[in-house]
Structures are given as C-alpha cells and as structure tokens.
Amino acid sequence: MLFKADFHIHSCLSPCGSLEMSPVDIVSTAKAKGLNLIAISDHNSAMNCPALHELCANDPDISCFYGMEITSEEEVHILSLFDNLEAVIAMSSLVYKSLPEIINDPDKFGDQVAVDAENNIIGEAEIYLGSPTSFSVSRVVELVHSHGGLVIPAHVDRPVYSLSSQLGFIPEEDFDALELSKHYVLRQKDGIRQKALLNLENYPLITNSDSHYLADIGAVYNSFETDELSVNSLKKILFSYKNSICMA
C-alpha cells in the first residue's frame, strides 16, 4: 500500500500550536489533503495521542504513529515516533517529569489543552512544555529506543532548536533518520540553492510539515510503499532511503 505521511504535526497541546489543532480536525484536514498516515508530535508530551489513536482506529482511510518532539538539555528538538500507545505514554511521563517545574502561563506562552476524540477538553498540561528536559541528545536516543521508538532529530537545517544551531554539527549517534524542514525542501524544489549541511549523507532523510495550524498540514510529506505499518518496517524503509535526498 502507498502511504503519504506527515509525522510532525502539533496539536492544541503544544503551547505554540493553534487551538484549532484538535485531533478531530487534524485527522479530517490530513485526509482532505490526501494524507493517509500521520503522527501528532507535540512538545514533550503525548497527552493528545489517545484521541488520535481512537480516531484512526475507527477510520479505514487513515493510520497513525504516536509522536513527541522531545527537547534535549542542549535545546535540540528531537522527533520520536512510536507504534504503541502505551510505550509513548510511558515515555511521555518520563519526559514530563524531567521538565523544569515552570507552571505554564497561557497568556504568555499559549494554551496546552488535552482533548478527546469528540473534541471535548479533558485537561491541560500544567507545566510549560516548551522547556528543555534534563536529557542529553544521547540519553534521548537511548530512552526512545528502549521504549521501542524511532529517533529523528527535527528540522536539522533550521537556525533555531536544531542540531546544527545548538551544537554546530551532527554528533555520531544512532539516529534513525534526520528531518529536513519544509522550508528547505520547498526551496530545493523551487531550484533555490541551499546552504550545504554537514554530514547529512550518513543518515536517511525525511521531511514533515511541523504544522502549528491546520492550513500547514501536508505542505510536505513522505511517500513510501509498505504492507506493514510498524516502527520496525518504517526503520527498514528509512534504511533503504539512506543516501537519497528525500522521501518526498
């Protein structure tokens, strides 16, 4: 089966995500844009993954992975993807506990709302989710892998919160792929020359929309064929894309 996948979508749980980004509306917008595989990947919490799970379990036209964009102590954003809801919830709880105890002020940072599959607000994350965890990049790699997930440093080409901005280089770690931002991929498509990035050739590359608004969903996506949707099969597919420019 051919999949068109956008793995990096923020919901209304992320303080920077628009309140319109409920799992219900994310799923319906993704389908309208022709996607059949998505992940909600909020900052440092997977509180909206159960709603996504419920919506996709009852919909033959779309499937999902469960994501989280984890902030390392170096303030590097790292996308993590799971195929098991319990695993992502366990990882989310570890991540949440490692955040500094700064209570979120919605007026300053934005709302952090958890919703169910019927669009009802069921709670909110009390601690500000935009802070870095106490985990180093290496520790994030270890923890995500031990929970059965994939580790993909986010938007490596961007001047903020990326491996290149925070460290200045791509460290030798067991990354499953690197994510290029839609800015990079769309400019490349338009034939605009991009600043050369170091060390990209050593990893599979994917691209995601990193949407904070419904209109951004599916702006870029990854397409691939597989009969089995799981972290393991995705890992194999990613590996087969090693050294190629992009899955999109």
Binding site: E73, E74, S136, S138, S164, S165, G168
Partner: protein, 110 residues
C-alpha cells in the same frame, strides 16, 4: 595561569582526576555550542552550563585548556569519560556564568 592554580585560587572543584594542566590563555562564555565553534578563541577556558559530551567534542576541536561548568550542574558520566580520554579538565562551580566569567577574567587578564 595553569588550570590547577586557577581552580585552587577560586575554590573550583576539578571533576576529572587526570588532565593536562596547561596555561589558560583566554576565556569564552556561551551555552550555544555552535556559537562557541564559530567565535571562541583557541586555547580558552570555556565557561558554560552545557555539561554533556558534545561540549568536550567542541572543546577538543578548539584545543580548549578547560571547561568550567556553572550553577553546580551535574556533569554527565560520558562527558567525564570523554574529558579523561582527551585530557581536558572539567571544573565545576556553584557560581553562575556571569560571576564565574568575572572571577576567571580577573585571574587570567587582570
């Protein structure tokens, strides 16, 4: 001024048991390693709160004489291991970066 002498004068703990006790020529204060790589002078003492092994990778590339970790942040085990391999001393203090920079500046440039 040598690293051991600076640590002694300021009462800063040296986390790494073995290290090269070199002369500190200069200093640089930053928590963004890409900034350190672009702008820090070679042979400096790096004053930072980033207590992980990637800091040591950058320190080794720029031949830093020492890394000073502020705010009493705990230094990760793999960072200590890397530092021992490279011979780069890791120092630690409860001073923040502002105070530590002032104190170190006074010692090496004052």
């Amino acid at each position: 001024m040598k690293v051991s002498e600076l640590a002694g004068k300021l009462g800063y703990e040296i986390v790494t048991e073995k290290y090269n006790d070199n002369e500190i020529a200069d200093g640089y204060t930053s928590d963004l390693l890409s900034d350190v790589m672009g702008n820090a002078p070679e042979g400096a003492i790096l004053i930072t709160i980033q207590a992980h092994k990637n800091t040591l990778a950058v320190a080794s590339q720029l031949d830093f004489t020492a890394v000073l970790i502020c705010n009493n942040r705990s230094v990760e085990a793999d960072a200590v291991e890397t530092a021992l391999k490279l011979g780069i001393p890791i120092l630690k203090t409860k001073d923040n970066q502002f105070i530590a920079s002032y104190k170190v500046y006074c010692e090496i440039k004052g």
